[in-house]
Amino acid sequence: MTEGYNFAYLDEQTKRMIRRALLKAVAIPGHQIPFGGREMPLPYGWGTGGIQVTAAVLGADDVLKVIDQGADDTTNAVSIRRFFARTAGVRTTTHTAEATVIQTRHRIPEIPLREDQILVYQVPLPEPLAKLEPSRAETKKMHALAEYGAMHVKLYEDITRFGHVSISYDYPVLVNHRHLMSPSPIPAFDNPKLHMSAALQLFGAGREKRLYAIPPWTSVKSLDFEDHPFRTTRAPHACGLCGATDSYLDEVVTDDRGGRLFCCSDTDFCEGRRPHE
């Protein structure tokens, strides 16, 4: 552990401020809470929101896992994991089942989470209505009055033009039958895992300085029409490494002659299923 830093990098007052905002966020599921986002030693868009939330909830006994697009071994995941290993001295892991805090970018682990786990999302654009209504004052009013008809206009247009809703990631959800929420850019495939999750789910948007949360066992419904119900899509292949047919797949180009491999995006899940020699 590196000397000279406060536990988990942020000072105690900042962590307290973030925890207060998180308590509000948990009290109003899906509602965005402003917080005084700090400069972090990594660029906006690399997880500054998630890293601040993680710093605020991390305790000395926690075990941290960081995933980026499902993988534990990419630059973003490795450097954030090492950051907390050095500034907080916490134990880190790549195994989902061993972790107590999981910071994630763009995926939810394949295996179901437990009540003693916290999932922290990195969020680029917290406002689900931003593309429909550019005014922040107006979107706040729309949230306050639960005027979410405009979002369905977007779905209507998709069905009209493409025959189905073409949103494949960051698919808008209604949390606790009340607040429209952006689930961060997780694939729509992962949306059902948000619903009635045993784990506490926290979302941090560093650039936009907003926090929100889904408490455990909360209803999360993906928006849809009665006659065009929400459904997930998945590449029609089995994982080329472990053979899984129910996991979310990455398509990996393997050579310059059209060769490609479909494999689980959740590397920990995939490794756990492969025989070890």
Partner: protein, 257 residues
């Protein structure tokens, strides 16, 4: 006058030294078309905004009878209730349809928006309803999936009317609905509005500077000058036998074709 749909008493509003409204009274009964006429700057659009709750008067009150029969003070209503009213029981047709429509959303999506805002969640039903309304405003159903930017000015205005009427409002505010359209398109649009208003029994508050539009659509007429109502009465009575000098001037200045 207990059965009025909308009733305004002693409205006043000043913008600095400019008197926009000065002791204005107005009444609207269910199913009636009321025209507000006057020259530019006479306060007619301000009156429309005050009646529809979009602007707050400095004095006076506007009463609205909701579908349950309760009288509501429009400017004392909480904002959620007023916005809900604007989404369902009321409609607002603007002069410029481009300001009211979503130009990057298909005609069907534009018409369906108010239905979805009211909680319709069945794609097939919304689409059927949108197609039916497109036909009612005399636009071919094959244009249902086209973007409004491919529509002509007259079609855009008819699309705006379909989008407004789809929730069957009881009261529609119209601000110069035929402004900026050529004469033959205007005539067709007026004919359409008259037919729809009569068949659906909608009450309309219509702002226009065009006396011909008022004569064709309105049952009653209010003539405004410098924020005051100078004459009010049945349309034919006011236009055929104007009593106030200003109304006489307005009527006599209409070009005879």
């Amino acid at each position: 006058m207990s059965d009025t749909l909308l009733s305004a008493r002693d409205l006043s509003l000043r913008f600095g030294p400019i008197v926009a409204l000065d002791g204005v009274d107005a009444d609207l009964w269910p199913g009636e078309v009321l025209a507000i006429v006057g020259e530019s700057g006479s306060g007619k659009t301000t009156l429309l905004h005050v009646l529809s709750g979009q602007a707050r008067p400095q004095g006076g009150v506007v009463w609205y009878r909701d579908p349950d029969g309760h009288e509501q003070n429009v400017h004392a209503m909480p904002e959620p209730a007023l916005r809900a009213l604007h989404r369902s029981d009321w409609g607002f047709v603007r002069q410029d349809p481009r300001a009211a429509l979503r130009l990057d959303v298909t005609a069907g999506g534009n018409i369906g928006e108010r239905l979805m805002a009211q909680g319709s969640r069945n794609y097939g039903n919304i689409r059927t309803e949108a197609a039916a309304w497109l036909a009612r405003v005399e636009i071919e159903e094959s244009r249902l999936d086209d973007l409004p930017r491919t529509f002509s000015g007259g079609m855009l205005q008819r699309l705006q009317i379909a989008r407004t009427l789809v929730t069957h409002p009881r009261l529609v505010f119209m601000d110069e609905p035929t402004g900026g359209l050529d004469v033959s398109v205007q005539a067709r649009l007026l004919d359409l509005i008259r037919g729809l208003v009569a068949s659906l029994g909608i009450a309309v508050v219509l702002v226009t500077h065009d006396l011909a539009v008022a004569r064709l659509l309105a049952h009653r007429i209010i003539v405004m000058q410098r924020g005051r109502v100078v004459e009010a009465g049945l349309t034919d009575q006011v236009l055929d036998d104007p009593r106030h000098p200003y109304t006489q001037l307005l009527v006599s200045s209409v070009l005879q074709a």
